[in-house]
Assembly symmetry: D3
Amino acid sequence: MSEQGPGPGGLTHVDATGAARMVDVGDKEVTRRTATATGVVRTTPEVTAALRDDTVPKGDALGVARVAGIMGAKRTPDLVPLCHPIPLAGVTVDLAVGDDHVTITATARSADRTGVEMEALTAVAVAGLTLHDMIKALDPAATLDAVRLERKEGGRSGVWTRPDGR
Amino acid sequence: MSEQGPGPGGLTHVDATGAARMVDVGDKEVTRRTATATGVVRTTPEVTAALRDDTVPKGDALGVARVAGIMGAKRTPDLVPLCHPIPLAGVTVDLAVGDDHVTITATARSADRTGVEMEALTAVAVAGLTLHDMIKALDPAATLDAVRLERKEGGRSGVWTRPDGR
Amino acid sequence: MSEQGPGPGGLTHVDATGAARMVDVGDKEVTRRTATATGVVRTTPEVTAALRDDTVPKGDALGVARVAGIMGAKRTPDLVPLCHPIPLAGVTVDLAVGDDHVTITATARSADRTGVEMEALTAVAVAGLTLHDMIKALDPAATLDAVRLERKEGGRSGVWTRPDGR
Amino acid sequence: MSEQGPGPGGLTHVDATGAARMVDVGDKEVTRRTATATGVVRTTPEVTAALRDDTVPKGDALGVARVAGIMGAKRTPDLVPLCHPIPLAGVTVDLAVGDDHVTITATARSADRTGVEMEALTAVAVAGLTLHDMIKALDPAATLDAVRLERKEGGRSGVWTRPDGR
Amino acid sequence: MSEQGPGPGGLTHVDATGAARMVDVGDKEVTRRTATATGVVRTTPEVTAALRDDTVPKGDALGVARVAGIMGAKRTPDLVPLCHPIPLAGVTVDLAVGDDHVTITATARSADRTGVEMEALTAVAVAGLTLHDMIKALDPAATLDAVRLERKEGGRSGVWTRPDGR
Amino acid sequence: MSEQGPGPGGLTHVDATGAARMVDVGDKEVTRRTATATGVVRTTPEVTAALRDDTVPKGDALGVARVAGIMGAKRTPDLVPLCHPIPLAGVTVDLAVGDDHVTITATARSADRTGVEMEALTAVAVAGLTLHDMIKALDPAATLDAVRLERKEGGRSGVWTRPDGR
């Protein structure tokens, strides 16, 4: 039995490479960490009009998507196998309705040993899936696009902002 | 993309007000926090006799309700959308059998940045729902009443106790 | 090893009585089943005014509570230990704002082998807990009262309505 | 207390419109239903080479993403508030590595009263988020794009395939 | 995009073999299915005496383990990646205290398209883990042994009973 | 209402003894804690050959079991009623294929107020259940044996290693 975590020591070659592991962050610094992610739901002008007028048949689509995004952020370690469970300090999810799309922006914050990028991205993805569910009777072809990290801050690597052209 | 969390900046009027958010508690103090909540399941003398004699057909109703309440406290952030996930330090759930009712008392404790009122209240509610489930073959009209916070302690606001007359 | 489920056969006296079990419903009829439950959150006129005006600081309290109630109904078998997991066919949660209280009404529907009372009651309780969370900065003494079954229909026992005086 | 689900009856104007509900599908037909969704994770040639060679530091990225996608499909009703819980009959998730991207394809199948579009879309989104997590040390700018329904079959509406140009 | 599920069609060689999938059971017969599993927690005579006398410091160890086993059975599809979510019709968990061990027996029942072996085995494993947790202050060396299927019935393959010598 | 947690004070005799509680660890030290557990899945040489050759019909059995074990560790407080929810700092799960068995080794790490034995044991048990699920078409009689703690470190009690003969 090895203390070093997964690796070839004492194991057959079957597991010798590529074994997934949840890396140990116990010695990382407890600092304030923030991450912001965005995404876009592309749909039709009819749907965005219904969202603005709050006439989507299934109910308050933007409100439900926002709540789902916040709750989704909290489920990140249940969904993403190697994500660390962390006590999230705060989450916001915004939905901005454009002509033929809805832009989703999520910011996750913690004061812990590991970053919150995945929490912000998960909030965007779950809000986007929920928006799809709310509008799919009107537009089954709606698409969730450009789910991506915009900015993160905190921890050893400091501030990262999305490079131009990506 | 705004760093200030949800708000009108850059959004259409659709989201300009009333947007739910999980507020950032990352700068709040890490202190010992405790909350106690109570509730009452009102039922019949026949049911309370069965509870005392442990003859409820579905099994050990009080024991199952207590376990469900403790586990329910841990599910609070999964159930209450804007609750922060926190590492609960301890939970107790008591059930006291009266003549025609059962009084439930739950105390939740943490050493974190946010209070544990919702955890204590959720423990009471889930224990009460479970008790209802265990006895509903005998009394489908059982009622969960008076689920309320009795006392909380810790954090900036110090000690709060329920005012008389509420 | 016994096929009859929990009981004294082969066991010591420790388990001979009172053992909780999830009863077998596999031979029950697949029928349409409906249950309606209600509950009341008692608070202050200031809070109900804020709910009406949508000026609760934490956001759209009624909308968030409604979503939480619907999601809570789906979590019933995770929360109530002996509840059967069932494919819920529909859930509605209404919140009606009165002078100093909010009345919550939830209806759960299925087409399965077991009733949906616990799903309706759980929807009410989780909506009530969430409403408490949304307004607790304004009124920490808010109370969830009278969580109870009003009516159920379907299955062998037909229609049940709450008797007068309970 | 109304049997008709959410609506203005007996409620103040606060809830009179836009109330979210999980619509009743209990009278819909039990039929075989299938849905296929796709999505694309856009990244760098260096990352796709590491995926092909199984040299991603965090482990077997494609295998972990596939498992996460399958498990994510099962969590759909926990994530998407108004989705019906259904017994999924099967889920497959494929990941095809291209030059600078990975294409994810998920198919969900059921024999139930409601479609499985959201399950297929959720599988794609969770597999995509997980892939992002596995490669983010190499490429924090990786983007999840074009998460969309390709085809669904079963139920009253028969076969739907994605229209050209969407 | 292939309808045949995971396979080499259209994919690079990366996924051509060994891809996990949740196999489609939608065309399998809906029948009554039952499975029984057992397991043994090996501990000390001091611990079994405490279990019999109900003097375990952490509380009613057998009752808590039984509830945990029943709830664990319901969580099987959340834990075992390729297990189908099914509406369990019933679960029983028995714990029989011997001289230096506790025998756990769980029976799961459904009326669905897929077997319930994993549900019975998961109930045993979670009850065993919980018993370990309850007694670990007295015996941290307690061992969960012989978690195995004893019998299953229903579906195309009929009755299976554990062969002698396994 | 008592602040001392569950006990006879003010309660009827029904709850006077044996009441389960999640003990308060809020005053325990925040230290690095590690626990390693092992277990063995006993099966046939045909199955271990299929595992080595990656020809198990259901897919990459070892990889799926490893991911399930890691995710299972994170679900420990959801499964084991009196376990404290903690932010796990790291988890590794190894599977070593022998002639007629697979040995599972899991190590859990945290920097918190309570030990991680149950997380390590749960990782082993869930990996073992998953392996059983993956191979059960080939060997329904496979057995999960010897799930036990090997070593733990951290907290007041320091290092514990499994005594000889247990």
